[in-house]
Amino acid sequence: MTTILFYLFSALLLGAALFVVLNRNPIYSVVGLVFAFMNLAAMYFLLEAYFIGVLQVLVYAGAIMVLFLFVVMLLNVQPDRPHPGLIHPDRWWFGIMALIFVSLFLLLIGQGVRALLTSPAEDAAGMGSVADVGEALFTSFLLPFEIASLLLTVALIGTVFLAKKKV
């Protein structure tokens, strides 16, 4: 059943992501992206990465996307004006590149990883708990963890500085 659920969430996620990119109204995009992230969180749960799954909801859906929503509302962004024709004339080659990219990527995966790992590691069940990730964070990744806190502080200061009307 979990397998079916996994594919279901994948499909929903893919649809949501396409919705984000393809529709013209930024607010819908934000809502779509929140939905996509919820699906992703569900996939993390299915992969038994509980902590990351909760973080996905808490941080991505709960904090980052609220910021996006705020900014969209603050700027009162209007839906994009439709462009005559399917694609902007000087952008058709982007599409070709994206196509080449994804096909190459899939080819590579098909070629290289198919032989590897078709099912999850048996001994890793429940590895994604808060305690496990926390232990890794505070032992072998302590320095990066501290640096990350510094990064957040810097971002905080930078954001306040940038967003102030007058400096």
Partner: protein
């Protein structure tokens, strides 16, 4: 669960490509930014999948750091978009080309 790893990776690749398409085609800076987030999350998914299939928690730690980074990045990035909007009255990145002139 019997999902093969390469299915998840291929799916992550598709998701990433959707993000790329968003970055390349959309003119609204905020949407572009959101597409970048999609790309990041595609990578995160691959990390978590690898972590699960290899039985190694490090992949999840990476995701943790990517999330931290994304939070910082979004805060600063959105602040930039807001101040750009304040100055140029637009969030259309095809109009934001001060470096050109």
């Amino acid at each position: 669960m019997v999902v093969p790893l390469y299915h998840i990776l291929a799916f992550a690749g598709l998701l990433f490509t959707i993000g790329v398409v968003g970055v390349l085609f959309r003119r609204n800076a905020i949407i572009v930014f959101m597409s970048v987030e999609i790309m990041l999350n595609a990578v995160n998914l691959a990390f978590v999948a690898f972590s699960r299939y290899h039985g190694n928690v490090n992949g999840q730690v990476f995701v943790f750091f990517i999330m931290t980074l994304a939070a910082a990045e979004v805060a600063v990035g959105l602040a930039i978009i807001v101040s750009l909007f304040r100055n140029l009255r637009t969030s259309d990145i095809s109009e934001i080309r001060l470096m050109k002139h």
